[in-house]
């Protein structure tokens, strides 16, 4: 149970490659923070620096107010779950979980209590005498978590713990990690490349790219107000649509003109633009697929042609192309369409689409920053 503070943390490898640039972050006590980003963004490196498995080139890391730069991993009060589980193959499940306790000379009966309790929580009691290779992926994952649980650590580190599991098991384990968090009630730092995991698990999400932090915020913040094009594209699935267009400021009112169709900016977004006194300029307009809808007759609408129709069950993903060959994705709830409408939607079908003024995102094409942040 502790806060973790990273100040100006940098990782430079021997070959002068900078893996992490000036990383500043304050993680509060009992917070669940998720580092997310594509592979090679430096998220795992940062986690490993916190764990003490990687030297810190510059900056300081504090755990519970103490600078831990020069401490060995074992002296940092952390527990860690590895991506490939890293179970000791020659030890039984029981011995695996008991390993850290025995190293710190905990009496055997205490070891027994702690291990069996952890095993019970994780539902692996019946496998205690097995060797790791006799377990399935999900069971191994539980053992790895169990091994970290018994350490009573201040900070719980997880490095892509679910990425080796199949989709179904991953969903199940994700829910269990949320339960685990409630039971352990400690600080969590979780690394993943999967934005769904990040959104569902994190109190706060740190989105990284090429060693830089792109945005730090709650799931809602990063979803509703992405700081730049990268975050906007990374969070949310299917990916946000980006349209190169112009923002018009006419007599205090704002309009966008995607594909020559003039649509008004409305609500909060318009107020914010006005507050920032944004003038007419080129922008990248971002609209999430779920915010594009099929236009009703008479509405100003963008003309598109259907390329692919993906039936997902509860919703339909429509891949369409506009007159100048820009691809857009439209997400339509299945219930909104009648059977005839659905049957008509084959490749080449013409669709008119539009979107509301309050769901637009505006990015500067040069800096790719969100105009409103």
């Amino acid at each position: 149970m502790a806060s973790v503070k990273l100040t100006g943390v940098k990782k430079i490898y021997d070959n002068k490659v900078v893996a992490v640039h000036d990383f500043d972050l304050d993680i509060h006590d009992k917070e669940f923070v998720v580092f997310v980003g594509p592979s090679g963004c430096g998220k795992s490196t940062t986690l490993r620096m916190i764990a003490g498995l990687e030297d810190i080139s510059e900056g300081t890391i504090e755990i519970d107010g103490e600078v831990v730069n020069d401490l060995q991993p074992k002296d940092r009060g952390i527990a860690m779950v590895f991506q490939n589980y890293a179970l000791y193959p020659h030890m039984s499940v029981y011995d695996n979980i008991a390993f850290s306790l025995r190293l710190s000379k905990v009496p055997e009966d205490v070891v027994y209590d702690k291990v069996t309790k952890a095993a019970e929580i994780l539902g692996i009691t019946e496998y205690l005498m097995r060797k790791p290779r006799a377990l399935s992926g999900g069971q191994r994952q539980r053992v790895a978590i169990g091994r970290a649980m018994v350490r009573d650590s201040k900070v719980f580190l997880m490095d892509e713990p679910l990425s080796n599991l199949d989709a179904k098991l991953r969903n199940q384990m994700r829910a269990e990690i949320i339960l685990l968090r409630e039971k352990l009630d400690t600080t969590f730092i979780y690394v993943t490349h999967d934005q769904t995991e990040a959104m569902t698990l994190g109190d706060r999400i740190v989105i990284m790219k090429d060693g830089y932090i792109m945005q730090v915020g709650t799931p809602t913040e990063v979803f509703e107000m992405p700081k730049n094009l990268f975050v906007a594209g990374f969070i949310g699935a299917p990916q946000m649509n980006f349209i190169n267009t112009k923002l018009l400021c006419e007599g205090g009112k704002y309009y966008v003109t995607p594909f020559g169709v003039k649509l008004p900016v409305e609500g909060e977004k318009a107020e914010m633009l006005a507050a920032k006194n944004v003038q007419t300029k080129d922008i990248v307009l971002g609209v999430r697929p779920e915010h594009i809808r099929l236009a009703e007759a008479g509405e100003p609408a963008i003309k598109t042609k259907l390329l692919v129709n993906e039936m997902m069950g509860s919703e339909i993903h429509l891949h369409v192309s506009t007159e100048d060959d820009t691809r857009l994705i439209v997400r339509v709830p299945t219930v909104d369409l009648s059977k005839e409408e659905r049957n008509a939607m084959t490749a080449g079908h013409e669709l008119a689409v539009t979107f509301e003024g309050k769901v637009m995102h505006f990015f500067d094409p040069e800096s790719s920053e969100n105009l409103l942040v």
């Binding site: 764990a51 003490g52 498995l53 060995q72 991993p73 074992k74 952390i78 527990a79 860690m80 590895f82 991506q83 490939n84 890293a86 179970l87 000791y88 193959p89 020659h90 390993f99 850290s100 190293l103 710190s104 091994r147 350490r151």
Partner: protein, 287 residues
Amino acid sequence: MKNEKRHMGLKAANRLSNTAIYILLIVISVVWLLPFVFILLQSFRVESTWQVGYVIPQQWGFDNYIRLWNSDFKRWYLNTLIIALFSAVLVTVIQLCMSYTLSRFRFKMRGPLMRFMLILGMFPGMLTMIILYRVLADLGLTQANAVPGLILVGVASSGMGYYVSKGFFDTISKSLDEAARVDGATRLQVLYKIILPLAKPIVIYTILTAFMGPWGDFVFARYVAMGTSAGYNVAVGMYSWLTNDQINSWYTTFCAGGVMVALPVTILFLCLQKYYVEGVTGGAVKG
């Protein structure tokens, strides 16, 4: 119908090629084993002690073995055994220290060190023989005292042969080390609680090769012993039986000696074959 025909054809072709392979394998096995069978048979030949044009003795007996154990061979055998046992322990320790470190630790001098040893290895080892001999001579470890000298030299430079076991260590996932260190283990504890139990095949492989090496050690051993029979190992001693003026009276004794040397080593080897194979296939190529 046509399909069936082709199927049959495939089977027949397979059978043919398999038969060819069986014949090949039998021939290979015979060629590979015959010389050893010859040695064994000739070691029981009583009627003559020189090379003859037949293999199966006309008169069988243990004369050669009796003669063998009444010769200096006893001393040579003991010498070799002592060297082999010592190097099995010491060489293993040194090589494992070396290879484990180079596989697991990323310290500043690691790259330069490995490059340096690579370059050192390009010098023919024989070059150093002259000076090592002089140094051993100064320490009084030559001729009759060759055994400790050979152990010393053999063990001291064995760190250079770290490649095979490093290759094996490299195959053990590094996250095991990391997990153990997070779990509270020191590097020393990581080594003996996690890595060594997992490295059993390579430990046994190293012990086995370190033990087997001295049995065939020839050139340096000969140089160090310098004609003093008491300091010979089996290779040097038995070589002296096959020189042109000795071979006619010692040839069959050499065969008996060969059996005595090969037998224990081969039996040991066959028992531990599994580990040897694992070591070679797991580490040798990766280097």
